[in-house]
């Protein structure tokens, strides 16, 4: 309605007829907005009145007081320490911790696998190209939930018992209780190594800035890459060895019927992570492929004719332009990974939805508050990611006109 600034025929004739104001664009705009606002308000009041009546009938009260009371149930596995005596609010935090952990790892692995698959899909080799294409086609056309259940029911639920565990490498154990791995136990002086690592990263960053400036000023190049490598990895290594290697590994060992020591994750975690990685790598691969294809071949030819060698062309010409097309779909994929990690509930991994929206909700009955809190969490994550994405988009946009 508002596209047309003045309602065509009526603007001149408003004095002639009493009904002419109906054709006035401003009046109509206000009228429609009042109408929509009124409908929303009435609907909202209707829902509110129903809810109040229903809650009254069930003798329930709305309020966040229940968050302080004891949850009383146990959680199979948690990143944040938890005991059944903790409060519902602590359950909420435990759920968030587990969700973010699995989502963060899945984002890293699926992005890596997606890059590999996306590049392979553009390979000059016919066989490799087709294998990658069918990998993507088959796995993205089957539901994620089905893949999660498949991995869980047919692989991770059928693993041998702890006594017959698979041990592909010393310290890494896989059985039907979960995946066990050595957990690092930093000694007293380990903070020095960590500090050296941070200093190395800062140093490499400053070095690259300085090298760029030197290149622009004098035209001389600095071997940034090997020096940075030395700064980031060599320097902490030296510090580590000088301080007497203050790091021990706690290896998982079989005691009785189970493994103790080391870190561990349950089979459901492994199944969820595997399925998320594989499923989302297909979408990442498509984003990477589309991004690289979006850079026109003329760019490659132009940079060759300027005398840039192929590796430079890729690094300085193709990738920066491809990233502009790759990053937005990739970040929306990351958001989907966070959202889809909620499917953990199907195989019993205690993520936010499972521990809070199911167990806590069933126990406490505070449906409205709990659903609102869970939705708020996911909205916060999504909106902050999309805010960051908008910032990035602004910074890489083609600067035209």
């Amino acid at each position: 309605m508002a596209v047309i600034e003045k309602g065509g025929s009526s603007s001149g004739s408003s004095g002639k007829s009493a009904l002419a104001f109906i054709n006035d664009e401003r009046f109509r705009s206000v009228f429609y907005q009042l109408l929509v606002g009124a409908i929303v308000l009435v609907a909202g009041y209707y829902l509110y009145a129903n809810t109040a009546a229903n809650l009254d009938a069930r003798g329930m009260e709305v309020g966040f007081g229940f968050l302080g009371s004891t949850a009383g149930f146990s959680i199979a596995w948690s990143l944040i320490p938890y005991t059944p005596g903790d409060t519902y609010f602590h359950v909420f935090l435990v759920g968030i911790g587990n969700t973010l952990l699995v989502a963060a790892i899945a984002i890293l692995t699926s992005t890596f696998l997606g890059f590999v698959m996306g590049v392979l899909r553009l390979s000059k080799n016919w066989l490799i190209r087709n294998i990658a294409a069918w990998y993507v086609e088959i796995l993205r056309n089957t539901p994620l939930l089905l893949q999660i259940l498949f991995w869980f029911l047919t692989v991770f639920a059928l693993l041998p018992s702890p006594r017959q565990s698979l041990e592909p490498m010393t310290g890494f154990v896989l059985n039907n209780r979960g995946f066990y791995f050595p957990s690092p136990q930093p000694g007293d002086l380990f903070f020095l190594t960590a500090g050296a690592f941070v200093i190395g990263i800062v140093g490499a960053f400053i070095l690259s800035k300085w090298a760029t400036k030197r290149l622009f000023d004098t035209g001389q190049k600095t071997p940034v890459f090997p020096i940075s490598l030395g700064l980031i990895f060599g320097f902490p290594l030296v510090v580590f060895l000088v301080t007497g290697a203050p790091l021990a590994f706690d290896l998982p060992t079989l005691q009785g019927f189970n493994f103790v020591g080391g870190g561990s994750v349950p089979p459901a975690f492994c199944a969820l992570l595997l399925a998320l990685t594989i499923y989302h790598s297909c979408f990442m691969a498509e984003a990477v492929r589309a991004g690289i294809l979006s850079v026109s071949h003329g760019q490659t030819e132009a940079s060759y004719s300027l005398g840039l060698k192929p590796s430079w062309t890729l690094r300085l010409v193709i990738i920066p332009q491809a990233m502009r097309a790759v990053v937005p779909p990739m970040i929306s994929n990351w958001m989907n990974v966070v959202k889809n990690s909620s499917l953990a509930i199907a195989i019993g991994f205690p993520d936010l939805v499972a521990v809070f929206m199911q167990t806590s909700l069933n126990q406490s009955g505070h449906a409205i508050e709990i659903v609102a809190m869970v939705m708020l969490f996911y909205m916060t994550v999504s909106l902050s990611i999309s805010l960051a994405l908008n910032q990035y988009n602004k910074s890489v946009q083609l600067k035209e006109r």
């Binding site: 309605m1 508002a2 596209v3 047309i4 065509g8 705009s29 429609y32 907005q33 009042l34 929509v36 606002g37 929303v40 829902l47 129903n50 809810t51 009546a53 229903n54 809650l55 009938a57 390979s123 000059k124 080799n125 016919w126 066989l127 490799i128 294998i131 086609e137 088959i138 056309n141 089957t142 539901p143 994620l144 939930l145 089905l146 259940l149 498949f150 029911l153 047919t154 639920a157 958001m335 959202k339 889809n340 909620s342 499917l343 509930i345 199907a346 939805v353 929206m357 199911q358 909700l361 449906a367 409205i368 659903v371 869970v374 939705m375 996911y378 909205m379 994550v381 999504s382 909106l383």
Partner: protein
């Protein structure tokens, strides 16, 4: 100067040399595509090894060692292979899948009533068929009538029992529209004119005023409608509660309704979000951002835990209805963003030109902007439909027996305890076929209509 006229001075190119033998034919193709260099060759060898292993495994598991007839999973595992060993987990137990096949497709819908599901599918296919028949007119009306009224007819047929007056009226309307659509197809092919024209001619009103035609057509349709109503009132179908619906049928049911509702609701929300009226814009934006940023499973939980609180007790909505509403809400938010993307891609000149022609907002939108925007967005829209179909499996988490939960349930049946991989593979195959076909069809559509300029 005189030299140039001399015939010897004319440039005569030598015949070009044949291409090097190793760049043409099979050898050339192999060299170019598979053995371009040492790294390429290694890749190819690894690839061949991968495919070979995969094919051998699939053949061994799915065909060579598979068991096709058995009465329980135990029997499957204990079947003896020709080489004297037991099958165990080295071969698929397709016998279990065969036994459960009916449940995978129809859920617990009673066997003697399953013709109703098939009938509904047949009606839907027949209803949409005129889309692909070139000589039939009124394609848009056909599609709209199917999308808007078919669900009621299907609900009446599938639910059975005593239909309420609302369902009776809407489903009779649907049946009448369906009959009209096919009368139109028949007259279009038999007499090369639409059914409306034929009715007008038969009643002898052809030379009367056009305004009278409308009344004649309406009267004609009223006759068909009353016939449909009388016919449907005589139905005596056994009631099948929605708790018995399941399998692939339920999956397609939920996703079909969500897909059908997504386009109109998405268009409305997208227009609202781009509106210049702040109140409408804010409400639409809030709706879209809220439901896009939370996982579908939380919306489903909201539907089954909060909807009963929001609605009056006496309404007591069916679980399936609440789930369908939740999936539709989810679908509308995603579709809205896709449509908005399409709208943003339309150059401003199109709006300005249309306004300069004196079209109002709704005409600009329906005739100029929206057709272009939707055409542009075909790949994304179909991609969204595919995603929706896959996401429908989430209803299994809140206990609706869709194909996935049926597949899981078959492995928990005492007779078939542990039968997990085979039903999952079957379900995966079904989803793959549907989704892959949809994506290929969308690519075909993209080529034929979205290009738009070359073909007229």
């Amino acid at each position: 100067m005189s030299d140039t006229t001399h015939s010897d001075a004319v440039f005569r190119p030598k015949p070009s040399l044949p291409p090097p033998p190793n760049t043409v034919g099979v050898v050339g193709w192999l060299r170019k595509n598979l053995f371009g260099g040492p790294i390429d060759t290694i890749f190819t060898v690894v690839g061949i090894w991968l495919i070979g292993t995969l094919l051998v495994t699939v053949y061994q598991y799915g065909i060579a060692n598979a068991v096709w007839e058995a009465n329980s999973y135990r029997e499957c595992l204990d079947t003896v292979l020709p080489n004297g060993e037991k099958v165990g987990h080295s071969g698929a137990c397709w016998a279990g899948v065969a036994v459960w096949m009916n449940q995978y497709i129809y859920g617990r819908y009673p066997d003697p009533e399953q013709w109703r599901v098939q009938l509904c599918l047949a009606i839907l296919v027949l209803w949409l068929m005129p889309f692909w028949l070139p000589r039939v007119t009124a394609k848009i009306q056909t599609g709209l009538s199917a999308v808007l009224t078919f669900p009621f007819l299907a609900a009446h047929i599938l639910l059975g029992g005593e239909a309420g007056s609302f369902l009776m009226l809407t489903s009779s309307l649907a049946l009448a529209l369906f009959v009209t659509v096919w009368l139109n197809v028949i007259t279009s092919y038999a007499m090369n004119k639409s059914v409306g024209k034929l009715v007008v001619e038969l009643t002898g009103m052809a030379d009367k005023d056009d305004r009278l035609h409308k009344w004649v057509l309406l009267a004609g349709f009223a006759v068909v409608f009353l016939g449909a109503l009388a016919y449907e009132s005589s139905w005596d179908l056994v009631a099948v509660p929605t708790t018995d619906w399941g399998g692939l049928f339920l999956t397609l049911c939920i996703s079909g309704i969500a897909i059908a509702s997504a386009i109109p609701s998405g268009v409305i929300l997208a227009l609202g979000r781009r509106s210049k009226m702040p109140v409408i814009r804010v409400f639409c934006t809030m709706w879209i951002e809220l439901f896009r940023s939370v996982p579908l499973i939380t919306i489903l939980f909201m539907a089954v835990t909060m909807m009963p609180l929001f609605l009056p007790v006496e309404l007591n909505p069916d679980k399936l209805v609440m789930v369908i509403v939740a999936v539709c809400i989810f679908a509308s938010a995603y579709m809205a963003e896709i449509v908005r993307g399409g709208l943003q891609a339309i150059p401003k000149g199109q709006y300005e030109a249309a306004q300069a022609l004196g079209l109002n907002y709704w005409k600009v939108t329906t005739f100029i902007v929206m057709p272009q925007a939707l055409k542009l967005m075909i790949p994304n829209i179909v991609g969204n439909f595919i995603g929706l179909l896959k996401d429908t499996t989430l209803v299994s988490i809140i206990g609706l027996y869709d194909i996935l939960l049926m597949a899981k349930a078959s492995g928990q049946d005492p007779n078939w305890l542990g039968l997990h991989a085979e039903p999952m593979l079957f379900a995966a195959g079904v989803f793959f076929i549907i989704c892959f076909a949809m994506s290929k069809y969308s690519q075909h559509l993209e080529r034929t209509i979205a290009g738009g300029y070359g073909r007229r």
